[in-house]
Symmetry: C2
Subunit: 165 residues, 2 copies
Amino acid sequence: MTTQQNKTTEQAIHIGSSCACFAVRKMTRAVTQLYDHHLSEAGLRITQFTLMNAISGFGQVPVYVLAEELVMDRTTLTRNLKPLIKAGLVDSIPDEKDARVRNLSLTPEGAKRLRTATPHWERAQAEFVEKVGEKSWAEVSQGISLIDRALSNGPRPSDRLIATG
Amino acid sequence: MTTQQNKTTEQAIHIGSSCACFAVRKMTRAVTQLYDHHLSEAGLRITQFTLMNAISGFGQVPVYVLAEELVMDRTTLTRNLKPLIKAGLVDSIPDEKDARVRNLSLTPEGAKRLRTATPHWERAQAEFVEKVGEKSWAEVSQGISLIDRALSNGPRPSDRLIATG
DNA sequence: CAAATATAGATGCATATACATTTATTTCAA
DNA sequence: TTGAAATAAATGTATATGCATCTATATTTG
C-alpha cells in the first residue's frame, strides 16, 4: 500500500501545479484584490465598477444584452445589479415595446460615483501594469483573448462589430 | 453637455476593453465552467477537486498552511471546506501539539471520490488544452506565473522549495 | 385565432470570496 | 509568572457565480 500511497501523492502534487483552472482562479483572486483595494476608497468593487462602466457605455441597455456583452450568466447579472439598484446608482426601467425586457441606466448619482471611482481604477490598473510589466501584460492579454475565443461557442456581439468594421 | 456625454461614453468603452481585472475575471468564468461541467459527473466542483487534491498531496495539513499554499484567504478556505466536511469527504482533526490548529485529511470516502473524479479532471484539462492549443497555453501559463510573482508579497512556500532544489 | 414554443427576467438553492471581528490558545516579555 | 501581543480558526456580513426552475410575455405554428 505504501507504493500506491506514494503514487497517489505524487499525482496529486502534479495536478495541483498543472491545473489550468486552478492557475487562472488563483491569479484572478490576486488581481481582484488589487483592484478592490483601490476601488474601496470609492465605495465600489471592481465587479460593480465594471458593470456601471458598461452601462454607462451603452447609456441604456437591456439586462440580456449586457449579460451577453460581459459573457456573464443572466442570473448572475441580475443578482450583481441588485445592490447597485438598491443603492440608487442604477435604474431598471421596463421596456415600452417588450414588457419582458428591463432597460438599465445609470442614475445621476451613479454617473457621479463612476466619475469619482475612475481615478481609483486608473491607479489600480497603473499599479498592475507597473508590477507585471507593460510588455508582459500585453502578451498575457493576447493569450487571454485567445482563450476567450477558444472557449466561447461563437462570436460575441463585440466581435461581430469588429469583424463588420 | 453633449460633448461631455460623448467623452464619458468613449472613456467607458475604453476601460471595458482594457481593464486587466475584467479580462481575467471573464476568462476565469469561462474556464471554471468548462472544468465544472466535466467534474459535475463526479459530484464535485473544480474548487473542491483542487482542495481535495491538495489535501491528498499533503496527507495531513493544517488549515493555515493549506491557505498559504493555495494563496487563499483563511476564512475562504474554512467556508469552502464546510460542504466537504459535511459530506464526509474531509476530516478536520484538532492538532495534538497546538490546540488552535486543525489538521485536514481525506477520509477513505474522500480519497475514493478523488480517484473517481480524476479522469473527469483529465478530460477537462485535455479539452482545455486542445481548444486553446498546447503552445499558447504554455505561454499564457508562464505569464500567469509572472503575474502571481508580481502581485505576491514574497515567495510562496512552494517557490522556496523549488529555489532550494 | 389558439396552442405550442421561445425568450426575458426573477427566485430557490448551493457554493466561492474576503474583510472585520470574535474566541480560544500560544508565545513573549516585564 | 503573569499580562500583553500574536496566531489559528470560526463567524457576521456582503457580494459573486451559475444551474434549475418559475412567471410573464412574446413569437411561431397548426
